[in-house]
Symmetry: C2
């Protein structure tokens, strides 16, 4: 059991200085306070006073809008709070950026604020705290990211395989045999997962795997411009897109080139963003149920709080069939 | 809302006959009772009286011993009950076989007994109820099995990828480059998952993928006899086995052939069966924490009871390092 004395001994300062640092007193330097907190984390000190005061969790959110009900993050936050608050937790929402992460380690930030767990939304592999998640001790749940091995960190998301299986099954029923993929580059966890799900789903249904039916690219409109017509000319009759936003771009591209949807080309997205019900034609897409994602995030947090070392909870990803898919065109 | 009248109308019998059937009265034929229950399930009738009477779940168990603390199923049951009973559930344990399944549909069995959810252990792909799980309406959690699409059915298990990543990482640190796999045939969900995890883990560490380093076979001792020495002669210095029981067989085979463990060959198992701590040498293996599996099973059940359509909860699978692994032999 690590005490204030251990921290004081390690830093060669008095016990009262350590106490001031841990309790945010104003009469010590910011530099010393930071050093004390970092040492406390390093030694595994538990600030009982802070922790006993309140049951507090935080949702740390980056690259994701959440203020109004039609924004992606909104319902995730809602779902999480709907489960957490009746269980007696206070949930803070903390908007995040990379500069903030560079200035303070995650564990220090969490301890300083008395948070017993964090739900992390919208981080990418280049976020500075991502490497800290590999070894952090505080229960942490990541949406659409995966950390290997650490029993205190779990992932939550929709099962990409479940989603692609349903999308491909739907297309096969409609007579499609050559099915393409338009996706971002394979640089994030979730894009890789969806890419693998596409490959696996095609294999399951014994469809042709062909590199020419795959278009990966960072810039959305460039990549649809480069790929949609090319695939069309190769005889591809349906394209699944890794995200709705790419599917919408593919619809625009088809319109520009006179490729009719769904008569000449079926298009499927992934996410079910609110706008996809209102595209022309309305988009068939794999649904991420955002409120359910928030709730699953809390279930994952609850497992970790109970020292149950789960690594993931994945949700079903049902297909929402609208008008952008139809029978395959005949050659 | 389906009523007793609807069932009576469908079958052309009186309301009181239906009532008798639903309440296990003895003065109607067994055949009629079964017909009534099956129709009730088909129409989606909810037997409120039964359901309100008790909060009952069942654990249905096949091909798995569970009566004494060192048997695989014992701690899974314990973990599930440890979570479920404080929440007010009664949990029945139901031993199962294929004949029983052939005689009564799963949904009928569950409704007849007033079970609001089932935790299914030890089923294989040929169990008759497996096909019913694809569409059943009752919350059902499967250990080490996966059902596509159905939002009422979830999977629980250890993350094979997490386990193989750690096993391969451990071997790479010890200087191993040619790593083999001995496994059962790719006929069950979990054996396929472990096979894929082996392939992925080798790729992650840029190790040679070679079909000659893989030995699949139904009969355990035949398959180790066919593969261990063969792999040894090909320069394989470590073998990961899909199950402890195959690893133990591989140890025996090495002993017979004068291949020293770990000097000539490192062996890793999967499961952490109690006996693996006492093999000679004690086995390095990937651990399935059985109590945690039971608890995760209850978390999954709890999600489904709350209509949160999860498809899986996976646990960490930590590596337990004992003496069957050591530095790679030099050529």
């Amino acid at each position: 059991m690590v005490t204030i004395n251990d921290i004081a001994a390690r830093l060669g300062v008095s016990k009262s200085t350590v106490s001031k640092g841990l309790n945010n007193a104003t009469d010590i330097s910011e530099e010393m306070r930071k050093k004390i907190l970092e040492t406390a984390v390093e030694l595994g000190y538990t600030n009982k006073r802070l922790l006993n005061r309140e049951k507090k969790l935080c949702i740390i959110i980056e690259n994701m809008d959440y203020n109004t009900p039609n924004q992606f993050g909104h319902d995730i936050l809602l779902g999480f709070k709907q489960m957490a608050e009746p269980d007696g937790w206070t949930v803070d929402v903390v908007p995040m950026d990379k500069d903030f992460q560079r200035n303070i380690p995650y564990s220090v930030f969490m301890m300083q604020n008395g948070y017993r767990g964090g739900f992390i939304l919208g981080f990418s592999l280049i976020d500075p705290w991502m490497s800290e998640f590999k070894s952090c001790k505080i229960p942490t749940v990541l949406y659409d990211n995966y950390i290997s091995t650490n029993p205190r960190v779990a992932s939550v998301g929709c099962d990409s395989q479940d989603g692609f299986d349903q999308a491909v099954k739907h297309l096969v029923k409609l007579g499609h045999e050559k099915i393409g993929l338009i996706s971002g580059p394979l640089e994030s966890y979730i894009v890789k997962a969806r890419y693998n799900a596409y490959i696996n789903a095609l294999s399951k249904f014994n469809l042709e795997l062909n590199d020419n039916y795959i278009g990966l690219g960072y810039y959305i409109s460039d990549s649809t411009r480069d790929n949609v017509q090319r695939m069309y000319e190769l005889g591809v009759t349906a394209i699944i897109c890794s995200h709705d936003i790419r599917a919408i771009s593919a619809i625009t591209e088809c319109m520009d080139k006179g490729i009719r949807i769904p008569e000449d080309m079926s298009i499927i997205g992934f996410d079910d963003l609110p706008m996809t019900a209102y595209t022309e034609p309305p988009l068939t897409t794999v649904r991420q149920d955002r409120t359910a994602l928030g709730k699953a995030g809390y279930y994952a947090m609850s497992c970790l709080q109970n020292e149950l070392p789960i690594c993931s909870i994945l949700l079903r990803a049902p297909l929402v069939v609208r008008s952008s898919t139809g029978p395959a065109r005949t050659a």
